[in-house]
Amino acid sequence: MMPAALVRAESSLRLASQTVPLGMFFHGSTVHADGTVPAGYQLAVVCKGPPGELKLKRKERVLGLLWLTRGEVTFARVPSLYIVDTSAQMEQLAPQSTLDRLGVGYSSLEVDATDETPRDRRAGELFAELVRLKESEKLFAVDQHGVRLQERTAGLVDWSADIRLPAKLLPGAYEVKLYGFRAGDGELLDSRRLNVRQVGAVAAIQVFARKWGLLYGIGAVAIAVAVGLLTGMAFGRGAKGGH
């Protein structure tokens, strides 16, 4: 078997773009990733957003009849985005314990998400619901045929994947990692940073809202009142002219 250092040296991960700009007309994006790996490996490409604490409302059945919000559940560290593309079914890549150790697949997120002091018991019970919520927003996704492999000469394989970024995307430093699997074992082969940042008017408005909140609020009200009154006057004149 090829030594791990040599495998990493012969493996590569390239991103078509290192930066994703969030402009006024952004509506999701696809980042093409490709590279080469030694022959015989199955692959997983994981794109992960910055982690953060997440508080969610939880619903429970009350009096055996009504579904009501019954307090909050806190997840300790949940990535803002988690997209996995693999070249084979997840269970064919490696044993679950190996996938969890590397951070490939939803169950690998559960420890970080529910590991809190003091531990929120409900976080463990509701982790599957968190995944379903994130999947419904396309912020979590697994495509088990998302990585394409193509044999080439000299014992190397070309691979490629399209990382689909959803319309609901927050700015931050994202990371893309390439994992290789062979004979039930897996390892990190390469990684790249992907910068998602707001640009132009979107960035200016966001900075204004964060740094000068009071002024921003007063300005928002003033513009709303002005637009309302101007429309009222325009319609008023139109009505007069009509008579």
Partner: protein, 307 residues
């Protein structure tokens, strides 16, 4: 031109045409009935994937425009009772503080959500049913034949016995200043508990308890909503940074035009027709909420915040 727009504070991309249409629809209802429409708009924005806290705060921002537009149109037609509106507003601001304190106490007891849900369904059901029955009676010409005897006389005695009676010429009624102040506190408390602007509670209160004419009710309600939502917008922007002005701007372009159309239709409809339509909308919202409580949700967790 792209038909999608990225919202800087919400961090989400949404359909431009859908937002304009949504703004137009809710603005139309606002101009027609004198309600802010938050009880309709905020859940729809959340369904579009916008965070509840940003949806509620930005909605308040766009209601400022719709209510300014509607207030202007009604003021030109002489159908805004500024004196009554100002007193209701003062009471509403005080009531809002009472409601927030009450919710804090109930949260401490762990019963807040049950209380809020029950308040919602009972208030909407009672208001909608009463308005529907009352306006059907009016249409059949039976108004004031019944019901004007027993309770109103007790109510009238109580109301007439209050000090500081004053005239409200625009509404053609006389009341103690304590009436609009007290009712403002009541509506403000309920609004804070339910997390809505309160237009759909305030309108029936003006019609049935303050006995104001329907067309003055709508203009006066919009006048009051203008200030309530301006206050919410500034506070949310300054404290929580949850106002997405791009979202509000797109919504308000739709809503100010909708509000003008709503005001025009308002002028063409009879008071009892308006009441019936309002009653139906309130009952539909109540039924939808009730279904939401009875049907098991697809996902047992959701983002916090919003109405």
């Amino acid at each position: 031109m792209s038909l999608w727009i990225y919202l800087p504070v919400a961090g989400n991309s949404v359909s431009l045409l859908l937002l304009l249409g949504l703004g137009g629809l809710v603005g139309f209802l606002s101009g027609l009935f004198g309600v802010g429409g938050g009880f309709l708009m905020t859940p729809l924005l959340i369904m579009m994937g916008i965070q509840p806290t940003v949806a509620a705060a930005s909605d308040a921002n766009q209601i400022v425009a719709a209510s300014a537009s509607g207030t202007y149109a009604h003021a030109r037609a002489g159908s805004v009772d500024f004196k009554m509106g100002f007193l209701l507003l003062l009471g509403g601001l005080a009531g809002g503080s009472v409601g927030v304190l009450l919710i804090r106490v109930l949260r401490g007891l762990g019963q807040a959500d049950l209380f809020i849900s029950a308040t919602y369904v009972i208030m909407l059901g009672a208001i909608g049913s009463y308005m529907l029955v009352d306006s059907l009676k009016e249409i059949r010409g039976k108004a004031h034949v019944q019901g004007a005897d027993a309770r109103p006389s007790v109510w009238a005695r109580l109301v007439n016995g209050l000090p500081w009676q004053t005239g409200f010429p625009r509404s053609k009624v006389d009341h103690s200043v304590l009436m609009p102040l007290g009712l403002g506190v009541l509506v403000g408390t309920l609004s804070a508990i339910m997390g809505v602007g309160g237009g759909f509670i305030m309108v029936p209160v003006m019609i049935y308890l303050l006995r104001m004419p329907m067309h003055v009710v709508v203009g006066t309600s919009l006048f009051q909503i203008l200030f309530t939502c301006a206050n919410v917008t500034v506070l949310q922007a300054a404290v929580n940074h949850t106002v997405d002005f791009v979202l509000a701007l797109v919504l308000l372009f739709g809503s100010v035009i909708g509000a003008q159309l709503g005001t025009k239709v308002n002028k063409r409809l009879k008071a009892e027709q308006l009441k019936i339509l309002m009653a139906i909308i309130v009952l539909v919202v109540m039924a939808k909420m009730l279904m939401g409580f009875l049907i098991a949700p697809d996902i047992l967790v959701s983002y916090a915040g919003g109405h």
